[in-house]
């Protein structure tokens, strides 16, 4: 139940996520030198449209990537019609994106 477009979308989102994950890990290593706390994290992210854009892009890519992966696992485990799979895929992507963007909003704009 994976056609060429969904396959391409999943690979493209993986390509987007790969450098973002590496930057994210590098920032963690840099940030924890000498310990860190919530105030320190928020001081870096609050009002930063760079970090806001960075993590928003990651959230959207991860939401699409994960939804397509779960679509494949779900179909191969439980079966289902193409229409059902489409609805579930879009719903999973929307929920993940909503939760992720809410978290980004919380550390950037609140």
């Amino acid at each position: 139940m994976l056609d060429a477009r969904l396959f391409l979308l999943q690979r493209a989102t993986a390509i987007v996520m790969a450098p973002l994950v590496l930057i994210h890990l590098a920032v963690i290593i840099f940030a924890v030198r000498g310990g860190f706390d919530a105030a320190e994290i928020l001081s870096r992210t609050r009002g930063s449209w760079v970090w806001g854009g960075f993590y928003s892009l990651f959230v959207i890519a991860a939401s699409v990537h994960a939804a397509i992966g779960l679509r494949t696992i779900g179909f191969e485990t439980f079966g289902g019609s193409r229409r059902t799979l489409d609805v579930v895929t879009i719903a999973v992507a929307a929920v993940l994106a909503l939760l992720g963007l809410r978290a980004v909003f919380a550390v950037v704009a609140s």
């Binding site: 139940m1 994976l2 056609d3 060429a4 477009r5 969904l6 396959f7 391409l8 690979r11 494949t72 179909f75 191969e76 485990t77 193409r82």
Partner: protein
């Protein structure tokens, strides 16, 4: 090898009385189970020899399929001790464990009777994958030159020796999970045609193999490659189709 009614054979050099305990799947459709038969050991005995011995000397109602007996026709594939094999080229000595052997029909296809799987779904998918050559020339045209050392021909040649035995199809977990998945053999055939410079149906074929049940569902487990008796690599063929389809999508051609 011709056996007498009691299974005796003048060619044998094995000590008399040495037997293999063979468990064969017997039944109609999906209902049935394993039945044990004791078969005398012979020199250079293949799994197909064992099944034939049972059918000719013990139970003539046993159904199985074979034709050439030399690894050319792809008719005699069965599941031997849990793995798909061409039975005419599989020596029993390699597979017998503690004097025991289990022979079942190929999986991922409906069972007709005993060891005979219904291969109609397998061949239907060759058609669904547009696995037919479509040329542009008629018999009055000159033969189109094809350079054997061209990259396209080399790629096609790498997958052309498929004997349609369905071993790769039976080995494929994706087919087990999604019975509509086209499967490694049909996709391998499509890939050879996509690299045939004489073929004119590339566009329709690429659409067929990159639809919902097509090549992009392959997880690259490589079971098809592992069990192919002719050492073909359908996983590589499927990867080639995936790349070709993705390029076509990016160019707006698909």
């Amino acid at each position: 090898m011709v056996s007498g009614p009691d299974g005796s054979n003048s060619d044998t050099h094995e000590p008399p009385g040495e037997m293999i305990a063979v468990s064969l799947w017997r039944g109609q459709g999906s209902s049935g189970g394993l039945v044990r038969y004791d078969v005398p050991v012979r020199d250079n005995q293949t799994i197909l020899d064992i099944v034939t011995h049972i059918q000719r000397n013990i139970d003539s109602t046993l159904s199985y399929r074979f034709a050439c007996r030399v690894g050319m026709c792809g008719s005699c594939a069965m599941t031997v001790n849990g793995v798909p094999r061409w039975t005419c080229r599989t020596h029993a000595g390699q597979f017998t464990k503690n004097g025991r052997l289990t022979v079942e029909p190929l999986r991922n296809m409906p069972i007709i009777k005993d060891l005979v799987a219904d291969m109609a779904p397998f061949f239907d998918k060759w058609q669904k994958a547009e696995g037919r050559f479509q040329g542009k020339d008629s018999r009055t045209d000159d033969v189109e030159p094809v350079r054997p050392d061209s990259p396209e021909r080399k790629t096609a040649d790498a997958g052309i020796e498929c004997i349609n035995c369905a071993i790769c199809y039976a080995a494929c977990d994706v087919v087990a999970w999604n019975p509509d998945y086209l499967g490694p053999a049909a996709l391998n055939r499509a890939w050879t045609l996509m690299n045939d410079i004489r073929d004119t149906a590339g566009g329709e074929r690429l659409r067929a193999v990159s639809a919902g049940d097509g090549c992009h569902n392959c997880h690259s487990h490589q079971s098809c490659m592992t069990f192919c008796p002719n050492d073909l690599n359908p996983t590589a063929a499927i990867a080639g189709l995936k790349r070709m389809a993705v390029r076509a999508v990016l160019k707006g051609e698909l």
